[in-house]
């Protein structure tokens, strides 16, 4: 069953949760072939009920020790612009759509999401353009995100500090 996983990390982002569970957006998801919608709503004020959606199967929770399994099962991840969430989704190799909370100004985390978008690692929109983005998105343009290379750091340090 094609699944969309929505995550807001440790923050709250009611506008995104309301928008993505709205009838017009879920209808769009259904057209794109997604049948299941899993929401991680964090500290948000709404925790949608399972039967509140007509077009897709809905599950919602606030927090879990690890969302790795939800990431793994997802065919598309929709996330807030938080660095942790973005990097986790990209690290899991999932197509990622970042929804920017334009009510938060000067959020330095946006810098990372913006750069990753410029490098074609993720798609980027706001709540008001969510429906159009889901309708028009082409996931094939996304480039895989190269894995981190902590070994480079270790090798450099060994050499610099004279560790044998």
């Amino acid at each position: 069953m094609k699944t969309v996983f929505v995550t807001v990390g440790t923050t709250s982002f009611d506008e995104l949760i309301e928008r993505i569970t709205s009838s017009e957006v879920t209808q769009e998801l259904k057209i794109r072939g997604y049948e299941r919608l899993v929401l991680q709503v964090g500290r948000g004020s709404v925790l949608p009920a399972a039967d509140s959606c007509s077009h897709v199967r809905l599950e919602a929770f606030r927090f879990k020790d690890s969302i790795a399994e939800d990431m793994r099962q997802a065919d598309l991840v929709v996330s807030h612009a938080g660095a942790g969430s973005c990097l986790e989704a990209l690290g899991a190799g999932k197509p990622l759509l970042v929804v920017v909370n334009d009510k938060l100004m000067d959020n330095h985390q946006l810098e990372l999401a913006r750069q990753l978008h410029m490098d074609n690692h993720l798609l980027y929109c706001t709540c008001s353009t969510l429906k159009e983005t889901l309708r028009d998105m082409d996931l094939s343009v996304l480039q895989p995100f190269p894995p981190r290379q902590p070994k480079n750091f270790a090798n450099f340090l060994d050499k610099a500090l004279g560790v044998k």
């Binding site: 660095a83 981190r148 290379q149 902590p150 560790v163």
Partner: protein, 212 residues
């Protein structure tokens, strides 16, 4: 006469301090603590995402980087749990320790009150660093690392021990350094950034791609 003497003495002392400061900053590349077989590390774990990131780096350092002393802010319980999970929390002594100091800056704290709490943190950092005398301090961004690095520098300035300061800027920083990064760019021996755009802007920094 006495006053002139005192002022002069103070002036000479300041001058000496500045000269020592410059010497200590310049001796980084020639400092090879690995020659003696091991490198003791003070790891500033900070909080939240910073802790996860720095543990990821520690994971790839060889066993020669030991003993490892972790410093966490005293308001942070999560980090201690993460460190224990990472280190295996084996009671075998002396391979790693966890120390706590007051947090120097909470998120969104004002500049003025940050300065006061940083001074308070310094009061804890100096005895800690003097006691542990690590070969290097490894940090990646939490405000807590500033007083610890200042304490590490102080040991060098006083001629007790040269402590290498290694700083890794967060991957979130693409165009500009964090406040801590801006300060540590001036004080560190090895300063890592994870985007080439920052490398261009800060020529003394080291860019090895994405390391965390």
């Amino acid at each position: 006469m006495f006053l002139i003497g005192a002022v002069f003495a103070l002036f000479v002392l300041c001058l000496l301090f500045i000269v020592r400061f410059c010497i200590v900053l310049k001796t980084g590349p020639s400092c090879k603590p690995g020659d003696k077989g091991y490198v003791s590390v003070l790891v500033v774990a900070g909080s939240g995402g910073h802790t996860t990131e720095i543990l990821r780096l520690m994971e790839h350092l060889s066993a020669a980087y030991s003993p490892r002393h972790y410093v966490v802010a005293d308001t942070d319980r999560m980090s201690v749990e993460k460190i224990c999970t990472f280190e295996g929390c084996d009671p075998s002594p002396s391979q790693f320790t966890v120390c706590r100091i007051p947090r120097s800056r909470e998120v969104n704290q004002s500049w003025a009150s940050s300065a006061v709490s940083t001074l308070k943190a310094l009061q804890y950092s100096i005895p800690l660093v003097f006691r542990l005398r690590p070969d290097m301090v490894l940090c990646n961004g939490p405000g807590t690392c500033v007083p610890l690095c200042v304490a590490a520098l102080l040991l060098g300035i006083l001629g007790i021990k040269k402590i290498l300061i290694v700083y890794v800027e967060s991957i979130c920083r693409v165009q500009t350094l964090s406040l801590t990064g801006k300060i540590l760019y001036l004080l560190s021996d090895y300063f890592f950034v994870q985007w080439s755009s920052l490398r261009t802007r800060y020529p003394r920094s080291i860019f090895l791609g994405r390391i965390v």
